[in-house]
Amino acid sequence: MKRTLIATSIAALLALPASAAEYKVGVLLPFSGVYAGLGAHIENGFKLGLEHFGDKLGTDTITMLRDDTEANPGATLAKAKKMVLADKADVLTGIVSSAVLGGLRDFVHSSKTPLVVSNAGNDAATGERCSPYITRVSFSNGSITRVMGPWLAEQGVKTAYLMAPDYAAGHQMMDAFRATFEAAGGKVIGEAYPPLKGTKDYGPYISKAKASGAEALMTFFAGGAAINFVKQYAEFGAAKDLPLYGAGFLTSAAYVHVQGAAADGVIASLHYVPTIDNAENKRFQEGYQAAYEGKLGSEFAVAGYDSARLIIEAIAAAGGDKAKFKGELAKVSFNGPRGPLKIDPATHNVIQNMYIFRNEFADGKVTQNVLATIEGVQDEVNGCKM
């Protein structure tokens, strides 16, 4: 007993100088272009995460590098190469657009650079195009809407109309919903996919969906499109005949205050809502609102926050050993603002709760009333070979 104790202390002493490792974290986010808003949220969250969990680093240090990805895969690849090859970044994080993630995948895989994805939801990134070096803390597109199928069927809804922008994420979200909704006995009786770019007027689509006679409208829209869609939906008085459901980005905390009364009654599913009741979320929201002009921390900000925490916990677990650090990222698990979170060893996608919530508008404010919590939502392996 005594001998082992001495041995451990000697080992600890020997390990001390080596444990002061310097880590360079390359943050790749859109700071200009269409996704710049999301980029800002994620970066704010990331910085708050460094602040809240930085003390776990001990003697190790983190230096943050940052560069703008726009929504441009080619330019991002070049910038990622600069971070890794010239600036010697130890880990990359960020990435909002799935196309940008797709463009980076082969580079991070072949250069064995860990990448912590804090938004891009493309199913394939943790499916057939997965990599042991890619860890996703945000979500996969399918996991968000998959939980809505059985839940809607349980509420007695038999027919649904689908609507999402015409691009990969839109189709993945809708396909996942369709599969589980139909398995639960529901029927999709119509669908529409407006062009991703340039659609400002959803009037024609809303009029058409209303005419279909479906019992529910299931949608996915995000950002400016979500604001316009929800507002126009309310203006057309469509909610009465055809209640609106969606992936929770439809009424994200980032902009639900702009939608205001129009968001009232919209039911959606997401991995995070600001009203989740736990100590970690309280700390996150209080810290975020104090640091950023009282703005509510959104699911995007949480993804940045948790990315920072994941990286810090992995650094702490590696104990100064950079080679070990790469393997530690996928082993991290913790209770965060969105509840319990861990990484699936088979795909390196996040395993987390999904919250089905109703937006309620009162006194000029929208709050999220959680109707159901689906715990430990995990993707199928989907062809991923590590």
Binding site: A40, D166, Y193, P195, K231, E235, F236, A238
Partner: protein, 290 residues
């Protein structure tokens, strides 16, 4: 669906609403082109500026009407600044340098907007006039859209009178027709250019302010709207008020009914219309000069 008259009515109103928004934007652009022979590519950025300034005014004062009034004036002031500092200097250099300067301005104005208003989409949180739903027959329809249609038609009527009943209008028509002769006849062409440019900027600002309550405002919205606006200008015929009006209707109808009836081709409908018009009638539907 196709036999349901309310489908045609509602989609018809949707077409008209989109067309009037496009008209407010394209009319300034087309008259500037007709007179000064250059395309102001930053026109969309002025539209975004109108929406963002309108947002700030509405939030600060609580009155969206005040935003409709002041935002166009503010954008006109920005336009005057751009004209005096950049565009006037290039009057003698020909159209291409002027187009290029406005192309550079797109990037400058967009970043300026991001710096001042951030990157999030913004929407008024206070009361918006005409925000309710009205019933046309049995169909509920957003009243605000009817308001946009009314603004578009009022602006068209106002411009028509301005062009045909006032001295400035006569000067503009003379300038579009033949700037040199107009100048020889004693028209101060440079002054006319300046006034028309300002009017175009003001209308872009008005379009932005009027669109803001319905479509939210964000830095970057100007780039998105630029291409459809250019398409309207070319389809309608350069330099012509009625051309801009007709072009807006054609594109509004193409986009709305295209998406409702042929959703798979929604993305290319507008470009197909553009190419078709350019091939069958390269001068546009109602050009100012034959």
């Amino acid at each position: 669906m196709l036999t349901d008259p309310s489908f045609w009515l509602v989609q018809g109103l949707n077409s008209l609403q989109l067309a009037m928004l496009l008209f407010l934007l394209s009319v300034g652009l087309t008259v500037i082109f007709g007179l000064m022979n250059f395309v102001n590519l930053a026109h969309g950025s002025l539209y975004a500026l109108g929406a963002l300034i309108g947002y700030s005014i509405a939030e600060a004062s609580g009155s969206v009407f005040l935003a409709f009034l002041l935002a166009p004036l503010a954008v006109t002031a920005v336009g005057a600044l751009l004209y005096i500092t950049l565009i006037e200097r290039l009057r003698s250099a020909g159209p291409l340098p002027q187009v290029l300067v406005t192309f550079g301005l797109i990037f400058v104005l967009m970043d300026a907007q991001r710096y001042l208003w951030g990157s999030d989409a913004l929407g008024v949180t206070g009361d918006v006039p005409f925000s309710g739903t009205i019933h046309i027959g049995s169909e509920p329809y957003p009243a605000y859209r009817l308001f946009i249609i009314a603004v578009g038609i009022a602006v068209f009527a106002g411009l028509y009178l301005l062009l045909n009943r006032t001295r400035l209008g006569a000067e503009v028509r003379a300038g579009v027709d033949d700037a040199e002769t107009a100048a020889a006849l004693g028209v101060n062409v440079e002054r006319t250019f300046f006034l028309v440019f300002l009017l175009g900027c003001g209308l872009a600002g008005l379009a932005g302010a009027v669109a803001m309550p319905a479509f939210s405002a964000e830095a970057g919205m100007g780039v998105e709207i630029l291409v459809p606006t250019l398409v309207v200008v070319v389809v309608g015929g350069l330099g012509s008020l009625s051309g801009a009006f007709v072009g807006s209707l054609v594109i509004g109808v193409t986009l709305t009914f295209g998406t409702a009836l042929f959703p798979d081709f929604a993305g290319i409908a507008m470009y197909a219309a553009l190419v078709a018009v350019l091939l069958l009638r390269p001068q546009g539907l109602l050009p100012a000069r034959s």
